[in-house]
């Protein structure tokens, strides 16, 4: 028995004449690890931007846990349990790695309006931040400014910051973009193991089809702003429409 966690209905976003998201019906089931694929410019990031509230939809609705969140602010959506990471790393560069995560925890606990306590003395938060960093293999970098991390570590921290919100639904926009092929699998190993362990529903945007097939429960393929196909990894692997438009080669034997 699966339950629908998030659902978009006829969602539209156009940039001028370019319909980046064109009447998309997109569904996420609770508990799944969904891969969102599609060539460059297919509209994947725009879809996530709409759902997370960075962009306002031109038309259509977004329903999360049965509630219409289409017009809600970013803040309200985060409180509802939607979090995201970014394709281009988006961190607090001058804060330490630990503070990047700690700030997120403070925000989640509603403590950011506190002007009268010393952040570093909040051991509950510090412990949780340390725990998160351990999960992502970043514990040894805790005291370093985020700007000093390597690209791979920055991608991980970007995910860790989103994860620290303890969301119900986590969007990860290309968690392995910009890192070498060799580093991709280790990053995905870390990310997926955390997501599975904590039973977080996740949507991962990813270009590398090996990774997509290896890690996801279900795949949604987009093309030119619309959903081209969706199904299990096996179904997608056999789907000729997908393989010809997106992968550009016949399915491997």
């Amino acid at each position: 028995m699966t339950t629908v966690l998030l659902e978009t209905r006829r969602l539209v976003k156009a940039f001028g004449a370019n319909r980046a998201v064109d009447a998309v019906d997109f569904t996420v089931q609770a508990g799944e690890l969904l891969a969102l694929i599609g060539s460059n410019g297919a509209g994947k990031t725009t879809l996530v931007n709409l759902i997370s509230g960075l962009l306002q939809a031109d038309a259509g609705t977004i329903v999360f846990e049965g509630r219409d969140v289409t017009r809600q602010s970013i803040h309200e959506r985060i409180e509802a349990g939607i979090a995201r990471s970014f394709q281009l790393v988006n961190l607090f560069d001058q804060l330490t790695v630990a503070d990047n995560v700690a700030l997120t925890i403070f925000a989640r606990q509603g403590k950011t309006p506190h002007l009268w306590t010393v952040a570093a003395r909040d051991t509950v938060v510090a412990d949780e931040a340390a725990q998160v960093l351990r999960q992502f293999g970043l514990a040894s970098k805790a005291g370093m400014p985020a700007a000093g991390l390597s690209q791979g570590e920055r991608k991980l921290l970007d995910v860790a910051v989103a994860y620290a919100l303890k969301p119900k639904l986590l969007f990860l926009d290309e968690p392995t973009s910009g890192v070498s092929t060799r580093e991709k699998a280790p990053i995905m190993d870390v990310v997926t193991s955390v997501v599975r362990q904590e039973h977080i529903t996740a949507v991962v945007i990813e270009h590398d089809m090996d990774i997509v097939f290896r890690y996801s429960d279900r795949i949604v393929a987009m093309h030119q702003g619309a959903i081209l196909a969706q199904g299990s990894p096996d179904e997608i692997r056999r789907n000729e429409q997908v393989t010809t438009t997106l992968i550009g080669s016949p399915p491997p034997a």
């Binding site: 985060i78 409180e79 979090a83 961190l91 503070d99 403590k111």
Partner: protein
């Protein structure tokens, strides 16, 4: 799981330097001539203003060119209390100054924090100029370009009245009064920037979008920072008037905002202590440089240009970097 060791909140340099400075500041009236003590007192007052300003620049990433407005409100509110109500109690001035400047900042802030970068800068400048031109034009209230006189107030709820020799009173009783408030302001600001709220401001400074996406309501927090910043600067304005004995529209003019910018850049806006160092250093320089040049603005501008080109981290930043080098620690990127 072992809990993290309690992190050290102040570095050894900060503790040592702080103690030294505290002793020195306490000793000033005992060892220095009244004139020199009053100079230091001005420096402490400006340091409070600079602390407030830097909550915006250093911690929130907003460069205000209109902080003269809040300093001026603090000063003028005091003068109006004298003029219309005949109040003499410094405590009343302080409360009124903080409240009034916070209110004005709250109002102006609604407008200003909708923008960042240069837009924020020009808006703050424009609004401060509104107050300046009003202070000039509404002379029946503000005394116009002559300004308003403020006699030396009574301290500690009227129990400590000014002595015959005004200079001695300012250089002793009033100096310690300001020093206590300065220490309180430093402590409060230190707490604010190290609080979760302060971390949220720094997050906004570093990356507004991401701050929004971890659940920080960026505009609201900027506004709160703006109000706090205005209140600190307003407190400075209130403390400044009895020293000067007079408030004129000059302190509302953009050039005075420029001076506050200057303190902070001189000391270094990337550090907590920078603005304090800058304000004290500036004040020392001014007292001795004004003697041989009336073109003080020119000197300030040139030094600012040089600082930006050659010492962008300011005096305090340079000291910090130096001490890190001496200890052999790696430089922070």
């Amino acid at each position: 799981m072992t809990p993290a060791i309690r992190p050290r909140l102040l570095s050894r340099l900060e503790v040592g330097g702080g103690l030294l400075v505290a002793v020195a500041l306490l000793a000033v009236p005992l060892v220095a001539a009244p004139f020199q003590t009053i100079t230091v007192c001005y420096g402490l007052v400006f340091a409070i203003a600079a602390l407030g300003f830097n909550l915006l620049l250093g911690y929130t990433g907003l460069l205000s060119f209109g902080h003269s407005a809040y300093f001026g409100v603090g000063a003028y509110v005091t003068a109006e209390l004298v003029k219309y109500l005949g109040w003499t109690s410094m405590e009343a001035y302080v409360v009124a100054g903080i409240v009034a400047s916070a209110l004005v900042a709250a109002l102006f802030g609604i407008v200003c924090v909708r923008y960042t970068r240069i837009f924020f800068g020009i808006l703050t400048l424009a609004l401060s100029q509104v107050l300046w031109s009003l202070a000039l034009k509404l002379f029946w209230v503000t005394g116009g370009s002559d300004g308003l006189r403020v006699p030396t107030p009574t301290l500690l709820f009227g129990t400590l009245a000014p002595t015959k020799d005004k200079m001695d009173f300012l250089a002793y009783h009033y100096y310690y009064y300001v020093l206590v408030l300065f220490a309180a302001a430093v402590a409060v600001m230190w707490l604010i920037v190290h609080s979760p709220f302060g971390k949220a401001l720094q997050a906004i400074r570093d990356n507004e979008t991401r701050a929004e996406f971890v659940g920080v309501q960026v505009r609201k927090y900027r506004w709160i920072a703006f109000v706090v910043s205005g209140a600190f600067t307003g407190l400075a304005g209130t403390l400044w008037v009895p020293l000067n004995g007079l408030t004129t529209p000059d302190i509302l003019y953009w050039q005075f905002s420029g001076r506050i910018v200057f303190f902070v850049v001189l000391g270094g806006f990337r550090t907590f202590w920078g603005p304090i160092v800058g304000a004290l250093a500036y004040n020392y320089l001014e007292t001795y440089a004004v003697g041989f040049t009336v073109y003080w603005q020119l000197v300030l501008g040139l030094v600012l240009v040089l600082l930006v080109l050659t010492l962008p981290q300011g005096l305090a930043g340079a000291v910090e970097a130096l001490s890190r080098r001496l200890r052999g620690a790696p430089a922070v990127a």
